[in-house]
Symmetry: C2
Subunit: 221 residues, 2 copies
């Protein structure tokens, strides 16, 4: 795909809140559509600064030879994250939510209306940076990854059990910084295990690449 014209869209939506029921319906429609196109869709959630974009960049570099990728970025106001992923010659769709604190399934549907999904195999959706609100709004993705990082302090799992519960995979990011931040990763893993004993947990550094291969394989790439 190198050298072809890349697409970087921006969709401005002012949908502030969706009813949970309406969101579930829209998510089911999205799921159906993604299946029709044979897409693998990954919804990536986490607080601001947890390294979601860098994780997507690392995964893109790992799998771009094998898979055609679209990145959908949710952000209140900027295109910073989409620009970063776009700089890797990956197609992007930017959803600017205004004041809305999460993406919802209708936003995804609207944003993808004019996108030719047959051009892609994998869609990474980077949700709005927020560890609370996105948990209530499934998008129709195949897998929901929650990214926590060693920079967020020791309590983020215990404070957000519902977000952890709805995840399919937990990524503990920035493990290269654990030592300088005196962060106890084992204690964090124990906190996650208390919420869900069987949840797959991957310890990675998106910056150094540590653990990215293992995560990528687990995602089926």
């Amino acid at each position: 795909m190198n050298g072809s014209q890349k697409e970087h869209r921006t969709v401005n939506l002012d949908i502030h809140k969706d009813l949970f029921g309406a969101n579930e319906e829209a998510a089911a429609l999205n799921k159906k559509k993604f299946k029709e196109f044979g897409l693998t869709v990954i919804d990536i959630m986490g607080s601001v600064g947890t390294g979601k974009t860098q994780l997507i960049e690392a995964l893109c570099e790992r799998i771009r030879g094998k898979h055609r990728i679209l990145m959908v970025a949710g952000d209140l106001a900027t295109t910073i994250d989409a620009d970063r992923v776009g700089s890797h010659e990956i197609d992007t769709v930017q959803i600017n939510t205004g004041t809305a604190c999460h993406l919802d399934a209708r936003m995804i549907r609207v944003a993808l209306t004019d996108v030719d999904l047959s051009k892609y195999d994998v869609v990474f959706i980077e949700n709005v940076g927020n560890l609370i609100c996105p948990a209530g709004y499934p998008l129709g993705a195949d897998k929901k990854i929650v990214v926590v990082s060693v920079t967020e302090g020791p309590y983020m799992v215990r404070k957000h059990p519902l977000t952890i519960k709805m995840a399919d995979i937990i990524v503990i990011n920035k493990i290269d910084l654990a030592e300088v931040l005196e962060f106890n990763i084992d204690a964090l893993v124990r906190d996650i295990r208390e919420v869900d004993a069987d949840l797959p947990i991957f310890q990675v550094s998106s910056k150094t690449g540590l653990g990215i291969d293992k995560l990528s394989s687990a995602l089926g790439f």
Copy 2:
């Protein structure tokens, strides 16, 4: 106040969303009540892990000899933050919001209904850890502090201009970690200045105490 019986309340609220208008009204009532009791009320906002609790602990230690303090903690599910501040022999009121991503003025009103406010001079309200949603719900506080920290990555200000705009004071926390995280504080200050050229900015380390005296004085303590 040392040695007296400390109060640690927990109020469980299931108010998920308030209308903005109703919130403004409740905030005005709170403001009036705070004024009647001669209280200085500080609403402290910021993402999870940004060090809001540690900042409150540092301020409490700095001013406890001069002022009688109440701490109100907003959290989805736990009492971790209130317990930490409570361990300093400070009275606390815990508000557990369930799934709500912010405190609102009605929650504060309900939570303080049975509290004898004449016992206090200063109220620190620690909002739910979230850089987006609390911005839309003023509580009636005298000052709104937004805490950002060097662990949240370089884009948190540019991504949340509305939150920065409604702040009265910005605290850049954890500056002791800036060097090991290779974080550019000057660039962050420039980002804040782009949103609001006159916003007071305090660089502190709640952990080491650096900058706390200056912030405390600016708050009138």
